[in-house]
Structure formats: structure tokens, C-alpha cells
Symmetry: C2
Subunit: 450 residues, 2 copies
């Protein structure tokens, strides 16, 4: 709806009306709208630049941060140096760095050329922090205060610095560049204007180090319900802050990564559609190959029982059910435990508690499933021996599956590997082999085969 | 370490030192510490209550919100009415409601008896919102201002209301109880003190309805990078706000739910350890039964090919590999698409784009896998016909798996079902049947069996 109106306004060059419409909108929505419009042929680079130019400066810059990198590159190429400088001036430094990380080299150098010396140095410093570290996602823009400042002086400073958005509500108190306390705007609002900051500041400061993993940063921020967390260097000097909105993005990224890994894929960096078919295939194929070749082991083991199969061919018909059930049981346990560890609810020291719990759960699950399936087979085939073989195999398979599903992810964590790798696909492959061995061995004994 | 010191202090009744130690700590950490201590026999209900009583009132209340419900119940039972009232007075209303929702009836009635009339009414109102709605997670504690107030008057009001934490930084401007604008403390700080609120407020307000799903609330808050989002009723009257920390919890809960569903489990409400073995088993067993019985269909289909199996028993040995690979390929696609839809990156209107993309990916993956496996089989068994049968079956299986993995989750969404249900386990079962059919049909033709 909005898209059609906007397209109509662009088509008829009604820019005053278009400007009025866009000004009422939120930058995130304008970015969505532009992305929708750009799917139409008539809305190309020229129209995009035009639309962007009629936005007020601040709104334009904010909209820019929400756009995807293709559109950002298109705009940067269309900008004059002056326009580029204006947009960058309005951006938060961490957003600028995020944008730069996605850009081809020629665009990056144009951006850096159009920033002042100090900003350029800050950007370069941020770019140097390791990928996925606290330093790489922090912004160096925050308010710091002296201990001996008064509340009135602190407010004057906030007004003077004039940062945008939520970054000002927690101010950081430093002494010789060292972080000694935090004070919130709310603390200052309710305090007398002559009070000293040191008298109202909180000295028990939660902070993270520049080289901490960004996942850890998000976890701390979420654990302590903070709107921002200070990032300090090895000498406890504050060098930046990470705000809650960035932490939320980190949480979602990490979850997406875990989903990918748990389905036997290497995580993709970009969104689904922005990733090419070739890259998608590459990220999936390695694990598929590994798992396929491991599964052939199960196949070879099956062949050790070819005499049994020839004697009682119906044994084959229960293989898919046994293997699938084993895989499902194992991946249930693995999923809960991987998730529990990601949320810090389950720790390595809980190992025996977890394994024992999964063992008891597997007893309940396996009894019910074995009873149902044994009964079904008996009714359908009127063959008690086969019903017994399948039911017993099911019990052992489920117990082993649940134990594997709990042991493997925790062992991975213990070996400093990502537990998410020990999810459904690997568990299924391992459990398959076990279940086939159990099944045919029990069948051989009970049916007195060979 | 901290735990041992604290236990030692409790043991020796050194409460002054203990108090000093705890006062330096963050409520979330105190709650962790108490949970750790309570694993020791010597730290029982009496010690817990003692420790809680030496905390300053506000810190005690905050610590209380971080505790798990067992410990909360223990404390509430030990509290005098007076103490209970003091703790509840310090709590945010949404936290009180969260606590009440976990408590047995007798504890709830004691809590309600110890709140004043107004609070009791507000609690009852909040309890009445549907589970998982915006209303159920919002807090009715926020600052509202009149349009014609000045900035100075607004600050006076904030000081007077004196709410805790971040809830004050965005104030809501109402007119006849209707939400007409928002103004941030930062806006007010940088404005002249005589300015009217209506001159500096933002009138384009992002809000959610009381009955919106909480997941939608978190998504909006995250999309627009808001620290708090107002919740309005059908008449656009603001009735509460949801803050970023609650939204973060919602995001994590929803992710955990998706992980559970995608591994064929009904989500559990409590943490892993707090859920009993019996409940764990119950949440897992339904899907296991459904999938087990579906997998027997695959088994029965296999039996239609018993003549082929008897003729060429080695055919059985490739079944696990084919079924596993099909399952893995399908769950890769399903996982990415379910996650893409959860993040709003993939929409139903993208259906054909997604299916076509997955089709092309499946062509690449299947060619590579078929080539590798065909070659391996040829080298190992020196049998070109069987190598050809397996490779061709692999190609068709992978293509079908990837198509199923993309079509089923999107179809579920279209039918207003949760796409997360159409994940690895179901896809595996469906693809198993297809792959067995393909495999034995190709084998029959190529090997001229029957």
C-alpha cells in the first residue's frame, strides 16, 4: 500500500508530498519501503538517490544504517564527497564500522577519506579488534565524568556532548582513565544538583574486556538487565560501550548459528536470499559428505548380517523405524542439552546429573514405545519372537541414543569444541550403527539364526 | 570461592562481614551465590532467611526477582506479613505478576492479601491478559505527561514518581488517556526548560496492542531498537510498557521453544533441571510415537521389495546411508527456512523463489555426493550397475529432500501452523519413504530384478 503510494509520488515527481510522507515514518520502515520499491524496475539508482536526498539529514543517516549493503554501496557511489561526509558524521561509530566491514575496498577508502583524522583513527582501532570480540561491536561514543564533578556539571556535559539515543543514560566515572563507577541519568535526576558524582555513583561495575567474546558480552548484559555494558582494556581503562540493541542482534546471530550447526551446516554470514546458491551448497556439502561416508559404516555392518536377512527378510522392514526412533531420541536429548549449555543452565560439572536424568527419561520413553510397537507387531504378524526382538532392540536403542545425546555435546564442550556440532545429524549416524548392531545381535540370538 | 567464604561466614555467624560482602555484589550474583550455597546441607531455610534479612531492602527485593520459584516460595513462607509487604512494595508490578504465576494458590493469596487495593487490582488485571500476550509481560509502571507541560514540570514529575531503573527514560504523552506522543529524557535534557512537551515530542509512535503476541512485541522492539515499547488497548489508551530486558527474555524463550519443536519435543516451561523426569518423558513421547508409527510405513514399503532384497542382499547395506543423507539434506533446508521465517527474512510470498533456490542447491549437493559415493562403491565392489543405482537414487533423494524441506515449513506457515513443527524429524520420516521407493524402483529397473 505505502509502496504503491510512494512509487506513484516518485513517478509523478511529487517530491514535496513524498518528503512529507517519509518524514512521518520511522527509519527502519523507510528502509523496508525502499527495499520493496527497488524490486520494481522503475525504481533504480537515480530514484533511490533522489529519495534519499529529500530526507532530512539525521533521518537519512539513520535510514542508511538499516539498509542492506548492496543498497548502501549504490548510495555511496552516487554521493558526492560532501554528502558522504554528512551521512557519516551522523552515524554512530560502531554502525560506521559495521558498514565498512561489508564494503569493497574502493568504497572503504572513499569512506575513510571523508572522515576527519580522529574518527579515522577510531575506526581503524575498532577494525583491529578480533572478529566477534567485544571490541568489534562496541562504540567508543559514551559519556565519561569525573568523580568530583557535581550533578549540575554532569548534566551540562551531557548537553554539550549531545549524543543521540540511549547511550547517554548511563555515564561512566573515570579516574586516571580507569573505570571507577557508573551513574545513571535517573540517579542524577533525583539527586541534589550540588551533590558530587562520587557520592551517588555505583562502584560495583559490571564490565567486559575488549577481547571477550561478543556472545559473553550479550550474556552479561542480559543477565544483569543492563541497557549498556562498559568495555575495558587490560588496564581497566574504559574504551567503549555495547548497548542492548547490539546485544540483541548478537543473541539472534548466535542462535541462528546454533540452528545452522545443529542441522549440519556451516553458518552463513549473510541472510538466506543474499547468499548465493553456490555458497549455500558449499556450506552444506562438507558435513553431508562426512555424514554420508560415516553412514556407509552402518551399511557395511548390516552386511555382516546378510545371512540373517536372507533367512528372515522381514527383519529389514523394521530397520527404518529403529534407526529413525534412535535418531529422534538422541537428538531430543542433544538439543535440550546444547540449548541448556548455551543458556548457562547446564554446566560441565552437571555431567553425571544430566546423564542419570536422561537415563531415567530413556527408561520411561523406551518402555512406552517398545510396548506400543511390540503389540502392533504381534497383532499384525502374530509372531511373538519378532515382536520381542523389535521391542527389546527399541529399548536398548533408545537408552543408548539418549545417553549419546547427552554425553557427546558435554564431551565436546569439555574439549573446548562447540557443543552445537554434536547435534541431531552426528548423533543419528552414531546411534544408527549402535541400533543395527543391537538389533541383529538380538535377532540372531532370539530367532536362533545362523 | 565466594561460596566457600560466604558459607564460612554463615557458619561462624559473622553477619556484619557477610552483609558487607553481599552489599558489594549485584543482585543477580547474590541470587546465583545463594543457589550454589543451598546445595550444601548446612545452608537450609533458616540460613536462607537469615541471609535475606541482612540485605538492604531494595537489594533484597531485586535479589528476590532473580531467584527460582522454589526458593521464592521458601522465603515467602518464612516471611512475616510485614516483610512480605516490604519486598512486594519494592518489586516492579510485572515481576510480581511473573512470580505469582509460578506460585501455588495459598502463597498467591498471601501475596495478594499483603498488597494495597490499587496494586491488587492492577495485578489481577495483568493476570487476566492471555498467556504470551503483550499485556501479560508489560508493566503498568511508566511516566506519562501532558502535552502542555513544560520540560521543567516534566522533570519534576519524573523526580516525584521516582521509578527505578530504565523505565523513565522514555515518557509517554497522553491526551484524554490516548497516546499521542513520546519524549525521551535526552530530548528534555537538551531542550530549554520552558519548552512545551508537545513541541519536542515525537508523534510517530511505535506501539503494540495488549493482545499482540509477545514474540511480535519483542520483534518490534528489536526492529526499531527501542528501550521500551508502549502497549495500548483497542482505544489507543496506553496501559503499560514492555522494556528491552523483558523482550530479550522473550526472544530467548521463543528460540528455546523453536529448538525443542524442531527436535520433536513439546516445549518445557521450566529449565532443564527443574523439570521432572516424568514431565520430560511426557513432552518427548508423543512425537516419538507419531514418528515411530510413521516410520513403520517406510518399513512396510521396504517389504514390497523383499524379492529384490533376497536377490541382491547388498542393496540393504545402502539403505542407512540413503535415508540418513536424505534426512540431513531435508533438515538443512527446513532449518534455514524455519529460521528465516522466524526472523522475517523469508515470507510466504517468497515461496517460489525459495523452492527454486533450494532446487538449484540440491543439484549441486546431489551431484557431488552422488559422484563421491558412486565412485567409492565402484572401487569397493567393482560393480558399475550398483554404483549407478545408488548414485542415481542419491540424486533424486537429495532433490526431493531439499524440496520437502522448503515446501513443508512454508506450507505449515500458510496454514497458520508453527513452521518449527516441520523440521528434521518429520522431514526425515517423509523423505525416508520417498528415498526407499526411489531406490528400489531404480534398482529393479537397472538390475532387471523380478
Amino acid at each position: 500500500m505505502e509502496k504503491l503510494i510512494a512509487l506513484e509520488l516518485v513517478r509523478n515527481k511529487k517530491f514535496v508530498q513524498l518528503k512529507k510522507m517519509l518524514q512521518e515514518m520511522n527509519p527502519a520502515d523507510i528502509s523496508d519501503l525502499v527495499a520493496d520499491m527497488s524490486e520494481h524496475d522503475e525504481f533504480g539508482e537515480r530514484e533511490l538517490t533522489l529519495l534519499f536526498r529529500i530526507l532530512p539529514k539525521e533521518l537519512a543517516a539513520e535510514t542508511f544504517t538499516y539498509m542492506d549493503s548492496d543498497m548502501q554501496i549504490m548510495l555511496i557511489n552516487a554521493f558526492s564527497d560532501n554528502e558522504l561526509r554528512e551521512v557519516i558524521d551522523e552515524l554512530y561509530l560502531d554502525d560506521t564500522v559495521d558498514i565498512i566491514e561489508e564494503m569493497p575496498a574502493n568504497v572503504v577508502s572513499r569512506i575513510l577519506k571523508n572522515t576527519d583524522n580522529e574518527t579515522r583513527n577510531q575506526i581503524n582501532e575498532l577494525l583491529n579488534y578480533p572478529k566477534d570480540s567485544a571490541g568489534s561491536i562496541m562504540t567508543p561514543e559514551f559519556v565519561f565524568l569525573r568523580k568530583d564533578a557535581t550533578v549540575a556539571e554532569a548534566f551540562a556535559r551531557i548537553r554539550k556532548i549531545g549524543l543521540m539515543k540511549e547511550t547517554v543514560y548511563t555515564c561512566y566515572v573515570t579516574e586516571n582513565r580507569s573505570l571507577v563507577g557508573v551513574v545513571t541519568v535517573l540517579d542524577m535526576l533525583v539527586a541534589e544538583q550540588e551533590k558530587l558524582i562520587e557520592d551517588i555513583m555505583e562502584t560495583n561495575v559490571i564490565s567486559v574486556f575488549t577481547h571477550d567474546d561478543k556472545e559473553e558480552v550479550a550474556r552479561q548484559l542480559s543477565k544483569y538487565d543492563l541497557a549498556a555494558i562498559p568495555v575495558v582494556d587490560a588496564d581497566n581503562r574504559i574504551v567503549g560501550i555495547v548497548t542492548f540493541d547490539d546485544a540483541m542482534d548478537v543473541i539472534q546471530e548466535e542462535n541462528t548459528e546454533d540452528f545452522s550447526k545443529m542441522a549440519a551446516m556451516q553458518p552463513i554470514e549473510e541472510s538466506y536470499f543474499k547468499t548465493s546458491v553456490f555458497v549455500h551448497a558449499k556450506k552444506r556439502i562438507i558435513w553431508l559428505l562426512v555424514l554420508m561416508l560415516s553412514a556407509t559404516i552402518t551399511g557395511m555392518i548390516t552386511m555382516k548380517f546378510d545371512k540373517q536377512i536372507s533367512a528372515v527378510p522381514i527383519l529389514v522392514s523394521f530397520m527404518p523405524m529403529l534407526m529413525d526412533t534412535g535418531g529422534n531420541c538422541g537428538s531430543q536429548s542433544a538439543t535440550l542439552i546444547i540449548r541448556g549449555m548455551a543458556l548457562d543452565e547446564i554446566r560441565i560439572r552437571d555431567f553425571f546429573k544430566v546423564v542419570f536424568k536422561e537415563f531415567r527419561i530413556s527408561l520411561i520413553c523406551s518402555s512406552v514405545l517398545a510396548a506400543v510397537n511390540g503389540l502392533r507387531i504381534f497383532i499384525q504378524y502374530k509372531n511373538l519372537a519378532i515382536a520381542f526382538v523389535v521391542a527389546t532392540s527399541l529399548i536398548f536403542t533408545i537408552i543408548i541414543a539418549k545417553l549419546m545425546g547427552s554425553i557427546l555435546p558435554m564431551a565436546a564442550k569439555k574439549c573446548k569444541l562447540d557443543p552445537a556440532l554434536m547435534a541431531a545429524p552426528i548423533i543419528t549416524t552414531v546411534v544408527d550403527t549402535c541400533s543395527i548392531l543391537i538389533y541383529f545381535n538380538i535377532a540372531t540370538k532370539v530367532l536362533a539364526l545362523v
